[in-house]
Each structure stands twice: as C-alpha cells, then as structure tokens.
Symmetry: C2
Subunit: 339 residues, 2 copies
C-alpha cells in the first residue's frame, strides 16, 4: 500500500515551472512543454509521473483529461506564501510616479490607483480609510474675479477642500483676509460637525457676508459626509480586457459592474490585518470574481488608520511583481499621507 507522495525539491521546481508557464500563456501546460522549456534533462514521461503526483496532492488540476495541467488555488497559495515570507523588493518605477504634484487625499488616492494599474497592467483599487474627527486647522478666502472667492478649508490632517462662493463685490483681498482670520480664530480646533452646528449662530457677524457663512456650512457638511465614509478609487478597470480569461464579454461586464459598486468593492479589500494579503479565486468571496485574484497591501496613514492598495486580475498573475509594485506604492502613500 503506497502512501501519499511527498513533495520534494524536484516536484516543487516542476510546480513552479508550471505556474510560471501558465501565468505567461494562460493555456494548460503539458508535460512536453515542461520537459523542453524548463527541465531539459528530464523526459516528458518523467514529468508526467511527477505531474500526476502533484495532481494527487491537489496542486494541479486538469480541465479535461487530454489537456495539460493548470495550477490549482493551492498551488498559487504555496507559491504566494513563499513570496510573502521573503521581503518584497521595492519597485523603483512605482516611486517615480509620485514626483508629480499631489493635491490632497483624493488626488493622491486616484493617482496611486492609476500608477498601480499602469505599472501592473491590471485593475487597481485604492482605499482610503475613513477619518473621523477631522478638525479644522485653517480657513481662508482667496479673492477671485467677479465677486467670487475661493473658500479653502484645511484640516489638521492636511486634507484640503475648497469651493467657489459668491461674495459682495466690495470686499477686497484684505477684507477677505480679515474675515478669514476671524473665522479661523473662532473655528479652528473644532470638528467639522461642530463647525456646521455653530454656523447658524454666526449668520450676523459684523463685516461678513451671509453668503460666506453659507459657503462654509456647505463645505463643512460635505467634508463631514465624505470623511465619515471610506473612499475607494479604481484605476485601469478595462485592463481586464487584455486577458483571455475575459474574452467572454459577459464575464467582463460582470467584472466591471462589481467595480462600479463601492460596497461590493469594499468587500474585496477590507477585513485583513497583515501587510499583504492574497485572495485567490473563491477566497475573494465575490462570485463574479471567482476566477480572479485580489492582492492587497496595507499602508498606514496617521494614527493607526490603515488604507489598502490592491490589484485585481486573473488568478494567474505574476504575484511577485504585483506584490513589489503594491509594496512600493503603499510605501509612497504612507510617506505622503502619514504623520
């Protein structure tokens, strides 16, 4: 009675070769291919025996009896876990991406998503954690032509929001600055919610327009609303069309429609503690993504809050490259957004 075959070094090499080849070609890998391209001193028959063992062990699967083998979720996992052990090399290309001007949280987030998607050629997702308790640090009116002014609110975490409001034509730059000073003095240190509540009482402040107050109220309520929800951005969503597993339009559409619903997207990203997570196929928990993998890296932003950057692509994916790209972008984000 034979026991379960053990997985030795050679089996591992072969498994690795199969994964690599499959990642490249997206076609089931046959024994001949391995024997010629990877293990040139072994015959196809030997490889066949090994492959048969690997299948018994659960690392390979055959779409049908006379096709080659395809790596199973277990195989990817083995491979990925191994990658996760070693430190992930930082990708220089990724860091360069952020030399551009960055404006505020949202801008950073979206350019991160674009950067990742361009580097990896997959779909990228970036999540910014919700920030409760944003406090106003400064508030300023910048004169604009034709009776307008730009109202800028800066919070203690460095988030910036602005909007154009109408003001009296006879307020010049200095007058606006005086108003700004006064408002900053009274409102700084308050949370956005407090600011909102306090504004009612101010509507008759000397020298200030009711319209200014209104503008601030609007802006404060918007910031408050936005800061209370997680923000999530997608980049390069149609990169998915580059991969043959999505040459079925229905599949592609299902995929894209998941991306359009923030809540379903959150499901893919959230709920992990470690720096890197890889969910393969069914592990994603979203049926439409059954043959996708989701790779995420977390980055720190300020006091213990964590955001995620991630890549969604076919299960066959060069996990090594993806991980290093994510790690680089995550690092850059931490630098930019962290305290």
């Amino acid at each position: 009675m034979e026991g379960m075959p053990a997985i030795d070094a050679r089996k591992e090499r072969i498994l690795r070769a199969i994964i690599d080849d499959y990642v490249q070609t997206a076609m089931p890998v046959g024994s001949r291919t391995i024997s010629r391209k990877y293990e040139t001193n072994l015959s196809s028959a030997t490889i066949r025996n090994e492959m048969s063992d690997l299948e018994e062990l659960g690392y390979l699967a055959q779409p049908h009896v006379s096709a080659g083998r395809v790596p199973s979720v277990m195989a990817y996992r083995l491979y990925v876990d191994e990658l996760l052990e070693g430190s992930v090399r930082q990708d220089a290309q990724a860091r360069e991406y952020f030399s551009q001007r960055v404006r505020q949280m949202e801008d950073v987030i979206t350019s991160a998503a674009q950067a990742i998607s361009e580097i990896t050629r997959y779909t990228a997702v970036v999540m910014m954690p919700k920030q409760l308790e944003l406090r106003v640090s400064c508030l300023q009116l910048v004169p604009m032509p034709r009776g307008s002014a730009l109202l800028v609110i800066v919070t203690d975490t460095g988030a910036i929001r602005d909007t154009v409001i109408k003001v009296s034509e006879n307020l010049d730059g200095d007058a606006l600055y005086a108003i700004s000073r006064m408002l900053t003095e009274r409102l700084s240190g308050r949370t956005l919610q407090e600011v909102q509540e306090m504004l009612g009482a101010y509507s008759r402040l000397a020298g200030s327009d009711a319209r200014v107050i209104e503008g601030i109220a609007d802006l404060a309520s918007q910031m408050e609303k936005q800061s209370a929800t997680d923000t999530v951005t997608v980049g390069g969503s149609h990169n998915i069309l580059n991969y043959p597993e999505y040459s079925d339009v229905e599949k592609a559409r299902a995929f894209l429609s998941v991306l359009e619903h923030k809540d379903r997207l959150m499901q893919l990203l959230s709920g992990t503690d470690s720096a890197f997570t890889v969910r393969i196929g069914p592990e994603t928990g979203v049926p439409e993504m059954a043959d996708c993998s989701v790779v995420t890296a977390s980055y720190r932003v300020g006091a213990g809050h964590k955001g995620f950057v991630g890549v969604i692509g076919p299960t066959r994916m060069p996990y090594g490259k993806v991980l290093s790209a994510l790690s680089a972008v995550g690092g850059a984000l931490s630098d930019l957004l962290g305290e």
Copy 2:
C-alpha cells in the same frame, strides 16, 4: 422605363419605424415586424415593396439577402438632419447634475463627462479648449500643519490651481499673508509665462522663502503647460460593453484604446463650426470607430473660445435623446465657465 421612386410621406414613416426598431433591438428589421408593430393597416408585402424602394434609394441595406433591413448612414443622416432643424429640447435631468460643488475647470469637465455618460449610457467625451494667455489674478498661501502651506493661484478666467509646498516653520498665517500680498502685487496681471521668467530674479526677496518661490515656479510652469494644450476627458468608457455590436472583445478593445490616446480622441471631436455635429460611421474618420457615431455639441467658454461635449456610441443611437442631453450639458457648461 420607371424612374427612381420618390420618397413620400409613407416611405418616410416606414423608414422612421425601421430606424426606431433597429435602435431598440440592434437586429435587422423585417417587413413583418413593421407591418405588425408600426403600420398595422398595411400588409407585410406592401411594406416589402416600400422597403425595396427605400433600399434602391440608398436608405436601407441588407446584411444578407434573407435578413431584414438595416438603416444606412444616409438614413440616419436624414433622420438626424431633421432633428437638427428643430430646436433641441433641454433635458431637465442633465441640469440637475451640476448642483454639486464644482471646483475648477477640470472638475467641471470631468463631472460633465460623467453626467453625460450616466444620462445617455454611452461613452462621453468633453473637451475644454486651450486657453492661451492666462493671467494671474491672485496668489495666496494658506497655512497648513507641520511647516507646509497650500499655494493657490487664481487666474483672471477663474481657473484655480494649488499645490502643497514646504515653508519655514516660523512663518505664521500673517506672515504668509504678507508674502501673498506682495507676490500678488508684483505678479498679478502677468501671464503665467512671464511669472515663470520673473521668478528667477525674486529668489532673494526679503522675508520670503526660496521654497515659496520654487513652489510658485513649479505651479506656474505646470499651469502654463496645461493651459497651452487642449484638455479632454472621457466618461463611462466601458458603457460600450452594453451594446451587442461590441460583444466582440477585439472590437471593444480597439474602441477603448482609441479613447486612451488623447490625440486620436481629438480627431473625433474637433473640426466643426456649428452648434451640433453628428458624424455617422465612416464619417468619423477613425477606422476603429467605423461603426460608431459621434455626436458633439459645442459650448462657449469666454471670449469666442469653444469647447465640445460629445457622445460616442453605436451608429444606432437615439439621436434625439442624445442631442438633447448634450445640449443641456453644453448649456450648463457655458453658464458655469462662460464670462
């Protein structure tokens, strides 16, 4: 010897019915369909005769002998020209879209693109004309936590650009305002290019940081570069997958790749004088878009400069609805961006 059949009222009704049906179903329309759904008092045989005439006239085409008829480019054009005659009804839904906060040109443009794509369910493109000779109107530094400041530049056309720069920790709000005033005084009225050139000379200004100067130089050069090129944004690009004519992934990808190249996109939009333009199929001049139509509306922004809003979709398109949506959004844009 029979002459060319004339196009009478009934032929026109039938043609219209065929277009309507084809727009809905994307399937060649047969004579029976028309006789049952649209012209219930005529038999299919009669319709057949009429259709045969319409084909001879060039308004219909048959994909193959035993399929129904499909409207030709000429048919659409007839129909569209008729639409263009009458005034295009404004679409209420579109106007609502802009009640949101709008920040600056680019924001307006992108939300316009999104609005159009959501309303029409097609791909939307919005172009903002290049603005030469932008002049600085105001320039202000807003204090931020941790030795940063937000540098805001406002131009005479109301374009806003900002960036975060580092400044000496010991500059407080008033000091920053003093610098802002001084800079505004010296730089306002200058074009961005002039500002850029002048900044070299200022690097030793009393009380101001070299870093501030540097920040302004950066920002000015970016604004200058951006204002010299046309800006174009795409919204809802993957709406295209909703239409059966793009159930071929290769086609869809070709379509999307055109959208990714700004220059090819410009080709689709530019070069028209009238308020509305409809280019059908080959008229677009871009081979990948051979079975698309491009509908554009122009909007005025300030002194004679024109921008375009457009929709790209399959040639069978409810042109009436699309035109009214575009007209509404175009109007809103003129209001928001015009002088």
